[in-house]
Symmetry: C2
Subunit: 466 residues, 2 copies
């Protein structure tokens, strides 16, 4: 689709919404804000411009037309936005100091003798980094992938005839791993804070960092633990054994002895995780911990301001994420979702269906639609509030609703190679064909469903969450 038609879609649908008479029970402002919200989501889906440009444009239209600049900018002071923004910068520190690489090479030296072992090294490295790097492109695409890609290259596996020796396996595996670790922590995926924020606004529940981590720990770790093995079985690399000592030694030689900066970063990282995991006791806000983490990295010289200025992903995210949060909060404050729930309750009856049936239906729906979303953020910002509202109307217990849809917002990305932003990074080089990628992803989504329903739901019951 060319740029012009993408612009047209982004503009025409919201205009059509505006032509519909304002539904009874809804303010004119709420309806207009809804049209602008749809414009933002269509813009993120069809991308006639980069995401931040879309959001700046929608904010501009909103504040010029609705005279609501206060509402339009509110998201930039939101703790949700800042949690994501500052954690992005932490990723830069891991990359700048070489600590991310070091963790990987240590693990390769210890347990990477076979390619199956190597696949667990990839999972562990990604896991270690995940609590503080919500950007999958930064974590898996920027830190983990380059290391494993270079191992594949070293062993003579390049896109093309030699792909199946190792590179193809590692590419598809890393995507599955990145989504598996992404489910574990609020700070492991950029869209999770948004899910939590919707849960707070719509379901009236407070999901702390620790609560999320505890709830995901059992099903999430099971998925992460079986992922390398299953991918290995489904799509085995031709190379089975590697000279991991040589690779580890060469890698370690390249990054040199552990620097003071790395040690400080490791210390701060541990402190941040303690801060996040004790937040429900200390009442220290998780965003405050993240800001403190970044500030400490800067003050101790672990990372320089110049380097953070070059971290374009962080700045772009600040702008589009803040904008989306402004609009979503504005809609919530304008009582749009309350009206939506009311309208839904009047027109659809869930009587006769058990709440579990509705929950399963929502889960299925949340997966099917993912084929149409090339952006995790577009999916979360547009459909999570809808699914939450439906669940609320059908009286589905709120915690399982939020957690299950939170998890499926990550693993749903595995259905395609474009579901999450790191997909194109790993798929792009061309080690793997699309059919193989989608097949493995589909199997893994089924595995996720089984684990989250079969283990997750009972475990959450055990935790007293429903």
């Amino acid at each position: 689709m060319n740029k012009l038609s993408r612009i047209l879609i982004t503009v025409a649908i919201p205009l059509a919404i505006l032509l519909i008479p304002v539904p009874a029970g809804l303010s004119v402002t709420a309806w207009r804000l809804f049209a602008l919200y749809i414009a933002a989501i269509l813009g993120i889906m069809f991308r006639p411009y980069p995401d931040p440009v879309i959001l700046l444009a929608v904010i501009a239209v909103s504040s010029l037309w609705l005279n609501n600049i206060g509402v339009a900018l509110a998201g930039y002071a939101s703790t949700t936005t800042w949690l994501v923004f500052t954690a992005f910068m932490v990723g830069q520190a891991f990359s700048d100091t070489g600590l991310g690489k070091r963790i990987a090479y240590i693990l390769i030296g210890k347990m990477g003798r076979t390619t199956l072992g190597l696949s667990y090294v990839a999972a562990l490295t990604d896991l270690v980094l995940s609590p503080a790097t919500p950007s999958t492109t930064a974590r898996t695409g920027g830190l983990v992938y380059p290391i494993f890609r270079s191992i594949a290259s070293t062993l003579g596996s390049e896109p093309g005839p030699t792909a199946k020796r190792l590179g193809a396996f590692l590419s598809v595996l890393l995507y599955q791993i990145s989504m598996a670790t992404g489910a574990l922590f609020i700070t492991a995926l950029a869209t999770h804070p948004m899910v939590v924020s919707f849960a707070k606004d719509l379901l009236k529940i407070d999901i702390t960092w620790m609560l999320w981590a505890k709830a995901m720990a059992v099903p999430g770790f099971i998925v992460l633990a079986v992922t390398p093995y299953l991918v290995y079985k489904m799509f085995p690399p031709e190379i089975k054994q590697i000279d991991n000592q040589e690779i580890a030694n060469r890698g370690m030689a390249e990054i040199g002895p552990m620097s003071v900066k790395e040690k400080i970063l490791a210390g701060l990282f541990v402190l941040a995780i303690i801060g996040w995991s004790t937040g429900s006791i200390t009442k220290i806000n998780s965003t405050a911990v993240a800001v403190g983490f970044v500030a400490a990295c800067l003050v101790t010289g672990v990372v320089s301001w110049e380097s953070l200025l070059k971290c374009k992903g962080a700045w772009s995210t600040l702008i589009w994420y803040g904008g989306i949060i402004s609009l979503a909060d504005g809609l919530a404050k304008a009582k749009f979702f309350v009206w939506f729930a009311g309208a839904l309750g009047k027109s659809i009856s869930f009587d006769g269906y058990g709440t579990l049936t509705v929950l399963l239906g929502l889960l299925a729906l949340s997966l099917v639609v993912r084929y149409f979303f090339a952006s995790q953020a577009a999916y979360v910002s547009s459909l999570i509030p809808v699914f939450f509202t439906i669940g609320l109307v059908a009286k589905v217990p709120v915690f399982p609703l939020a957690l299950l849809l939170g998890a499926s917002s990550v693993f749903g990305s595995q259905l395609t190679h474009y579901g999450n932003a790191v997909g194109p990074v790993l798929f792009g080089p061309g080690y793997v064909d699309q059919v193989t990628w989608w097949k493995i992803g589909t199997v893994m989504v089924v595995v996720n469903c089984i684990v989250y329903l079969g283990v997750g739901l009972p475990y959450w019951k055990l935790l007293g969450l429903w």
Copy 2:
């Protein structure tokens, strides 16, 4: 002073403040926030780290210690912050498209035959750009200076023995001009929105874009009109005549024919100025106009998102400016300034002094202190609230108070070569010695005082502002 002592000062003084028992009538939170505010200002003054790092650190301490992340981040949703941030980006558009250069070369061709004419070209170019480029480093340092510096070079005037031929004159002149245009519009200087915000919080007056422009128009334009002439008389360049046609033609040839982007930018620029100047009638917020301007530049392709991501000044400003605004707003909300005014009223009596005497005293004070401030932002954020409060206690009419101190916050920079951030850019290359620079600046400050007091005050009376 080395980095360690600068860190020590920044930390020790706030700690000392915290050791003082909380004054009666003030909450503990307000007192702690005040200590953090002082830390931020000391940090900006002594710069142990870049400004954004200072503010991130203070925000981190505030939100971890005082558990006030909402307060600490509020400034990032402030229209004040966003006005400055987005206008910074507009400066990038002027530079990217070449429109800034084109304006200069057209004027050089038309009226730059003598070096006196050339100096008026510099003033006009800076004036044209000033309504939408609050960054003096971007406007004068980034756009205007390179053109005039290259003219000096072409005519064989370099730092050293040939400096006085032309380059020395142009360097010192551009600084004086930049401050003169900086007074004219709220959007012509990064710190003006902060002054306006303090005026709103403390003096309870609403200074719109148009009101400021109208109030500054008469005294400000007089200053701008006499500046080139006076500097020319005080510090004449040896070269009197130049081949301006050749310079203009060469410059125009280099940038080529006017592009569509430049035309769009020119159109958007006119629209933005209309938007700002009619804001008091249309009730459209000036920040909404600025966001609209940037969004329109992006959507029409006048400037790319990639290019804005590289505009480091804008991002750094967003972070430190938003942080300062958070803290200042937080202090105001914690009733710190109300308490301060009360305490001041109890301990100092202004009886027997006319309000005009107090105003003159404040003006004098606002200038004397500038020798100690290497940052305009540090001066404005620390002393403007103090001066406003003193003026309020002494019952000085609020509009003259705000406008005169607003103007002196700019022209006070002319006393030194470090008063405003563009100073080092122009002074740095070494065309002019410090004594000459300070002498000319001092004369121009006297001229400013005469004009603002002799013409400004009566004119503001005429406008009904007191």
